[in-house]
């Protein structure tokens, strides 16, 4: 009797609610695409969005831009799959996205902008300093750095958001990434 009750509780309650929570919070290959540390919800902001995508953005309390206009990638981990944290410094580097307009912003875990004296929260295609050839590097760090510095404060876990408007599609099967490599997030050092 007891084993059957336990099995019922685990399968019905934990399985049903747990799988729902996971699909809403983390997504799956049905609703998201991952490119290294970057994850995009493929139906965000669209009228044909699936119930998981609708629930995800409703729970977060955001109004996403339609993926028919812009792809919004999020990263909570670095390229070596370690959680992004303000105790560490990171280099975000790569080729500049080939898009009409793009921006990269940093938030705390709850999506709040991080207070800093420089009032610097992001870089975009118009404000970024590039190396010759289009490569760029942004340093995400608590203390000021030369070049493109994005302050990470002392907030604990971090979330990076890369928004690419009107991505230039270059080939079949690459539509969701805009046909381009996304920046690498490399941990430099931790305190």
């Amino acid at each position: 009797m007891i084993p059957n009750l336990l099995m019922f509780a685990v399968l019905a309650v934990a399985g049903g609610l747990g799988s729902s929570w996971y699909m809403i919070e983390k997504g799956s290959s049905l609703t998201t695409r991952a490119h290294g540390p970057w994850v995009v919800w493929t139906a965000a902001g669209r009228s044909d969005a699936d119930p998981y995508t609708r629930a995800h953005f409703a729970r977060r309390g955001t109004l996403p831009v339609s993926t028919s206009i812009a792809l919004t990638y999020e990263a909570n981990i670095d390229s070596d799959k370690r959680r992004l944290h303000s105790a560490c410094d990171y280099a975000i580097e790569g080729e500049e996205p080939s898009a009409a307009w793009w921006s990269l912003s940093v938030y705390d875990e709850q999506g709040r902008l991080i207070e800093n004296a420089a009032e610097r929260y992001s870089y975009n295609s118009a404000t970024l300093m590039r190396a010759p050839g289009g490569r760029f590097s942004i340093t995400l760090a608590r203390n000021a750095r030369a070049g493109n510095w994005l302050p990470s404060g002392d907030v604990g876990r971090l979330t990076l958001v890369l928004s690419i408007e009107e991505p230039q599609v270059s080939g079949p099967g690459q539509e969701d990434a805009g046909g381009q490599a996304l920046p690498r997030i490399r941990r430099l050092a931790c305190r």
């Binding site: 399968l11 629930a55 729970r59 206009i69 912003s105 709040r112 408007e165």
Partner: protein, 192 residues
Amino acid sequence: MTMRWFGPLKWNVALVALACGGLLHITSTFLAPQMAKSRAAMRIAIDLPPNKMVVLPPASAKSQPLPFMSPDMRYAVCRYDAGSGPIAVNATLADKGWSFGLYTLEGDGFYAVPSQTTRRTDVNLVLSLSPPTDRTFGFLNFGRTPEQDASNVTLPQREGLVIVRASLKGQAYVNEIEAYLGRATCAPHRPG
């Protein structure tokens, strides 16, 4: 030991449990948007006058109406209410990265217009609860019916949000961007 625990398990109980789990999964997924503590659209809408476009202050650590709001965007927002009749909305998407979107108060996007890379885009829409009817030739299905007119948008709900997003290229452009956003309108439609 393992057999002692799993021996008496009944497969019919497991099947019923799986079915109940599936029902719970579906129910909780569909209820999650309604159970969200504070819906984004509601949070913005609560402070806005109806049918009036308002330019929001720039997002910063001290002023951020919604989580994950882009600091590289300026926003003009209108809380439309089409209960008393259609609403006319006009906006200019002046540059790359600008966009126009319509949302329900549940936060579901149902209409979006991107800017053009090479030229300005004027958005002129009439938002109404039901498709306009052509009283002259509509019953004959003659010529171009109003339903085919791209400037008419049939709303899924009476209330919702219009959001114009303007990409912020730098502080030097703030006045120009605010001027464009300030000229965006959202008001009861006056045909004529």
